[in-house]
């Protein structure tokens, strides 16, 4: 062939469609709000579905914290609501396990994966790279609706007679593979597996779109290193999901086969209920753990990476300074994404893993501290001598950094296999991951919601409620999780129903009560956020200018309430990176402004 080639311009179906039908464009309620193919609407759908899930998942934690903080308490109204699951007003052990399992599943997958990435990848990628919509708006819509179907199935598992899946969000076999083993391993487990399989499909469709949009559809002048860090973070998130979820999918297929077809992938030499000898032979439950954690570890970065991007962006805008170390930020995210695939066995130090292999995983795990620390220092140096505007979004960004440092440090403890032998499956682990990927990710997500709410709905959220939300959340988060480190050091195991029977843990009765109190308080203050969110959609203060934060990125060049296609005219061309704040005596210089003749280079 000659070098005569067709150059593919970044054009989506949507754009072609717009050109053809610009004059007779009519949307019904169904196409606008239900089966929408507009990235902005899909983002809002993901956000609100995620919020519903977060309330349900949060409520579950309130219920099991009631049991942990007040083990002798009897609340008759619990029996009125939950029937035999709360006999005599007390949560039964089966219900307790199911609550913990579902709390983990819902928060990790349905809120902090779909709710977080689904919202901000859909909302910000087309805006910030300068595209009319996602590469394939249709697949994008499918991605959301697969998520809805997965949600409906998981939700329905809460209402079956034997209850939802129980035994931990990791659903380790053999417990999860054998229906006879527990209530939570019956139909609830099948619904869980089917729901999560559909969730993987949703995540795959979304991820394909995010990567293709970022690579193919950047507007003229938007080189990769002019992209805001949000887009970089979402790109790495999508790549992680694309490569790790299929492995989980394979693991689930094998588990479903073991449950229903009599295969022996994970099962071997099992006597059930002390009497029944199962014919399964030669399988390995450890195999499942490898498959699970090959997703499971990247998954925590899938959760936290988007918030890296959101926080960097919000922080730079509100400190009125360029983000410190832009290239270092990208490099650290790349390093984290790469290492994410090489550390999964640090969740398995106590499985009888070869100690030499363990030491390799210790080394690789501790290496993650390097890029993480680089990012933390870059955020701190971005704040350093900034003209900080303490908007709620900015406060949550700073809170994120605080949480990320606190939770990250305990990760170094757990990454050491020798220490992990003691700390494994204790409250130390609970404290670590809740701080570093639970609360941190929520802080980042809140930063994003408060900051981009004006772009989503053309109105602001209420600041006073935002400040209350932030401070109560921050204090409660530390009150809940800080003491858990001590409980974990003392060896208090996670997932236990009642600690009163153990001499060693009786000393923590009061502490557990304090934790439960703070947990309930922090749940209530999240409801304040939900109220603020919905109230502000309809009654919030109106946005009156296109660029209320004085930001550089492209989404603030669109109309206050952008239509389908984002820009009414041509898509703007980009001439500079996204972080020219406080440059040459100017507060900010939008990306669309050409570089002047005597402008200093950054």
């Amino acid at each position: 062939m000659s070098n005569e080639i067709v150059i593919q311009h970044g054009v989506s179906e949507q754009e072609v469609h717009e050109h053809h039908e610009a004059h007779h464009h009519h949307e019904t309620f169904i196409t606008k709000y239900v089966f929408s193919q507009d990235h902005k609407m899909i983002a809002k759908q993901f956000l609100i579905t995620g919020m519903i899930w977060a309330i349900i998942g949060g409520l579950m934690s309130v219920l099991f914290r009631l049991q942990l903080g007040y083990p002798d308490l009897q609340l008759p109204w619990l029996e009125d609501i939950f029937g035999h699951w709360a006999k005599d007003g007390k949560i039964t052990p089966e219900f307790y396990y199911a609550l913990g399992t579902m709390h983990g599943t819902i928060l990790i997958f349905f809120v902090l994966t779909a709710g977080l990435t689904g919202t901000f990848a859909n909302f910000l990628i087309p805006f910030q790279v300068g595209a009319r919509d996602m590469a394939s708006p249709f697949l994008n819509m499918l991605s959301y609706w697969f998520f809805v179907v997965a949600s409906v199935i998981l939700m329905s598992s809460l209402f079956v007679q034997t209850g939802p899946a129980a035994g931990g969000w990791t659903v380790y076999p053999p417990l999860s593979a054998l229906g006879d083993a527990s209530q939570g391993s019956k139909i609830g487990m099948d619904l869980w597996l089917v729901s999560l399989a559909l969730f993987v499909v949703s995540s795959l469709l979304g991820g394909l779109n995010y990567i293709s949009t970022i690579l193919n559809m950047r507007t003229k002048g938007m080189t990769m290193t002019r992209m805001p860090l949000t887009v970089w973070a979402l790109l790495f998130t999508a790549i992680l999901g694309l490569l790790s979820f299929p492995v989980l999918f394979s693991g689930f297929i094998l588990l479903l086969f073991d449950r229903h077809l009599g295969t022996s992938f994970y099962l071997s030499d099992i006597v059930i209920s002390g009497t029944k000898i199962l014919p399964n032979e030669g399988g390995s439950p450890i195999l499942y753990q490898h498959l699970f954690w090959f997703l499971g570890h990247p998954e925590v970065y899938i959760i936290i990476l988007p918030t890296f991007g959101l926080v960097s962006e919000v922080m730079s805008i509100n400190a009125r300074k360029p983000i410190f170390g832009y290239m270092a930020m990208i490099a650290s995210m790349f390093a984290i994404a790469l290492l994410a695939f090489l550390v999964w066995a640090h969740h398995m130090f106590v499985t009888g893993l070869n100690p030499f292999l363990g030491s390799v995983f210790v080394l690789l795990t501790l290496l993650i501290a390097v890029p993480s620390a680089i990012k933390v220092f870059n955020w701190l140096t971005t704040l350093w001598r900034g003209s900080i505007r303490f908007t709620p979004g900015m406060l949550f960004s700073i809170g994120f950094v605080s949480m990320f440092i606190s939770g990250g440090l305990t990760g170094i403890f757990l990454g050491n296999s020798t220490l992990d032998l003691h700390l494994h499956d204790t409250y130390f682990v609970i404290a670590h991951f809740h701080i570093v990927m639970g609360v941190s990710a929520f802080m980042g997500m809140f930063a994003g919601v408060y900051h981009w709410f004006p772009k989503m709905y053309g109105r602001y959220m209420n600041n006073t409620l935002g400040y209350i939300h932030f401070w109560v959340t921050l204090v409660c988060a530390y009150v809940i999780f800080w003491p858990m480190h001590y409980e974990g050091f003392a060896g208090m195991p996670r997932r236990y129903y009642d600690y009163a029977g153990w001499e060693s843990f009786k000393q923590f009765v009061e502490l557990n009560r304090v934790i439960s109190f703070a947990a309930i308080l922090s749940f209530l203050v999240q409801l304040l956020f939900v109220f603020n969110f919905f109230y502000s959609i309809f009654k919030g203060r109106k946005v009156t200018s296109k660029n209320p934060w004085g930001a550089n990125t492209l989404e603030w060049t669109t109309p206050i309430r952008p239509g389908h296609g984002n820009w009414p005219g041509e898509i703007p061309e980009v001439h500079r990176w996204a972080y020219d704040y406080g440059k040459d005596g100017r507060d900010f210089v939008p990306q669309t402004e050409p570089v002047g003749k005597d402008e200093t280079s950054h």
């Binding site: 970044g10 193919n216 950047r218 694309l242 992938f265 030669g282 399988g283 390995s284």
Partner: protein, 247 residues
């Protein structure tokens, strides 16, 4: 839109695809990358279970039958034929894509039909092989009694031989590792499902081609995308073939 690409042309400056592919083709490549990990996970699982077993059946002994050849010992002959058929279907797919580049509708239709036929033949062969394994029973010593069992996902007659014990002129064995059938049927089934999906896509492509859809669009890129998928499924088979039949 054909243009000469000047030396030093900048591909990453935005406003164009850096790999000079449409987003659809990019998505297909990314999907295939993802699916590689699905199969990779399954095959690695198979490998770990297999090496953990003290005994594993010899594929030359298990897969030695051929339709209409009775009890003739023809190791791997049938699976070689299956593999040949699948690879030939990839060749015809290439020809369909090639005709698509020339925008020759009749040519695309012809080669798509051959590809569909190849896909169905492969699936038919797989169905025969599965049936033969499940129904073809062998004498196995279980709890002191000789029983005739076939190969299923939870049974395996191909264990080590019991020295000196014959049954109807056949060597009696002890049960083989259960994982053998579990993984064989699980993974070839998952691959077969991919082939089936590919055949369905090709049938759809055939009708779209016949309906003139691609002529109206002005290009046959959709055929290329399905072609990528088809070649991928073919490539995966090479690994499945290697792991189950050759090693």
């Amino acid at each position: 839109m054909s243009t000469h690409v000047p030396a030093g042309y900048k591909w990453w400056t935005g406003g164009k695809s850096p790999y000079n592919v449409s987003y659809g083709k990019l998505m297909m490549w990314l999907f295939l990358l993802s699916d590689t990990f699905t199969f990779g996970a399954l095959l690695i699982s198979y490998g770990t279970i297999r090496v953990s077993q003290p005994y594993w059946p010899d594929p030359n002994h298990v897969y030695n039958a051929f339709p209409l050849m009775g009890h003739a010992d023809l190791p791997l002959a049938f699976v070689s034929l299956m593999t040949f058929i699948l690879i030939m279907s990839s060749v015809t797919m290439v020809l369909a894509v090639h005709e698509g580049h020339k925008r020759n509708r009749a040519g695309v239709e012809k080669w798509l039909l051959w590809t569909i036929l190849g896909g169905f033949m492969f699936l038919g062969c797989q169905a025969w092989e599965w049936t033969h394994l499940i129904t073809g029973s062998h004498p196995v010593l279980i709890d002191g009694v000789v029983k005739e069992i076939g190969t299923t996902i939870s049974m395996n007659p191909f264990g080590p031989a019991v020295p000196g014990l014959m049954h109807d002129g056949h060597q009696v064995t002890v049960p083989g590792p259960i994982g053998f059938g579990s993984f064989f049927f699980g993974i070839t089934g998952f691959h077969g499902f991919h082939v089936f999906s590919g055949v369905m896509l090709n049938i759809l492509m055939y009708f779209w081609t016949r309906g003139g859809r691609f002529d109206r669009l002005g290009h046959y890129e959709m055929i290329e995308k399905v072609g990528l998928y088809w070649h991928f499924v073919d490539l995966v088979w090479v690994f499945v073939f290697l792991c189950f039949y050759l090693i």
